[in-house]
Symmetry: C2
Subunit: 199 residues, 2 copies
């Protein structure tokens, strides 16, 4: 299959690309994309990416951010990163990409454990994750041409523990290559509307 | 208690106001608010509302909309109503209102059944609902001064069945006054971080 991996240079995106490359043509995309450059916060940039890649069999997104702030410090302005990047960025990859997906193709987005197991400072990220999860579940019942749509909800990964583990007190980090397998399941399997928890 | 009900003239908002009025001072707010005018899509308007009301014990929101479109017809632009109104509108009521809430006060937002039991055309609304639910669950662990935050997820209500029941094939509508009781539970009870399903 021909697969776009957005966020391919990130910790999880790298492992996804490595897991898919033996069997698929992987187009690595991202702000510093090796194959295609894209900023998911810009619908124009997403549209340009799809014009560049043409039709594909799968789109995976492993990018998107949000500000980590206590609710008492979170302003509408600081909440915008989560809205524009992790939420709208991912959903616009679907809305603008559906016509580029071959029949039976798939979208796989990324949520995250903090929507189910809240952490301090995580409300804006949780909001974005919850929005993506619900969109995926709902969109799955009506996307046409056998197209499937899932998301993967990773726990904190071992590779990020030294950098951000302090936000995840008492969590048991998982290896990024285990998270990557959930994306492979979404692409190569037949399920739709799922949120694969890798906790 | 002194309670703001945003969306007080809506089908559910009216029942909430009626349920609270015997025991509380209810400030009815909304675009056509009897007591206070507010457009939740505008952070400035929300800020003005709170300046007008001053400190309160509870804020309930029963307003917010999204476009109902098939995913194949949903554009980033059409998705904006759900983002700006049902999602950001509700979250900004919390972010901008927390300083106006008395110690031990509560926020109660509104989600909806279609995030759990998807309907055609409902992906944008589901997205907003899922974002609100996850935000509420996460924010609840860190809002200060004993402030609580919950949401209510109503099924389609009997009073709206003739108008929009066609979108909810096979659903069993619930009376709006039963939905209103969940808001009373949130305001007068002691739970936090809950999404009360009235299905």
């Amino acid at each position: 299959m021909r697969v776009i991996v957005v966020g391919a240079s990130g910790t999880i995106g790298q492992k996804i690309s490595e897991a898919l490359e033996p069997n698929h043509e992987v187009l690595r995309a991202g702000r510093h994309g090796v194959d295609v450059s894209v900023d998911i916060m810009s619908p124009d940039s997403i549209a340009d990416m799809y014009k560049m890649t043409g039709r594909v069999d799968a789109v995976i997104n492993a990018s998107g951010g949000a500000n980590f702030k206590a609710v008492s410090d979170l302003t509408p302005e600081l909440n915008e990163k989560g809205i524009e990047s992790k939420l709208k960025g991912q959903i616009n990859l679907v809305l603008l990409g559906q016509e580029y997906l071959n029949d039976g193709g798939s979208f796989t987005l990324t949520t995250g454990v903090m929507m189910d197991d809240p952490i301090p400072l995580g409300a804006s990220a949780a909001m974005a994750n919850g929005g993506v999860k619900a969109f995926v579940k709902s969109a799955a019942i009506e996307v046409p041409r056998g197209i499937r749509i899932n998301c993967v909800s990773p726990n904190i990964v071992q590779e990020s523990w030294d950098r951000i583990g302090g936000l995840f007190a008492g969590f048991t980090p998982v290896p990024a290559d285990r998270v990557a397998r959930a994306y492979v399941k979404s692409v190569e399997g037949a399920q739709t509307g799922q949120n694969y928890e890798v906790y």
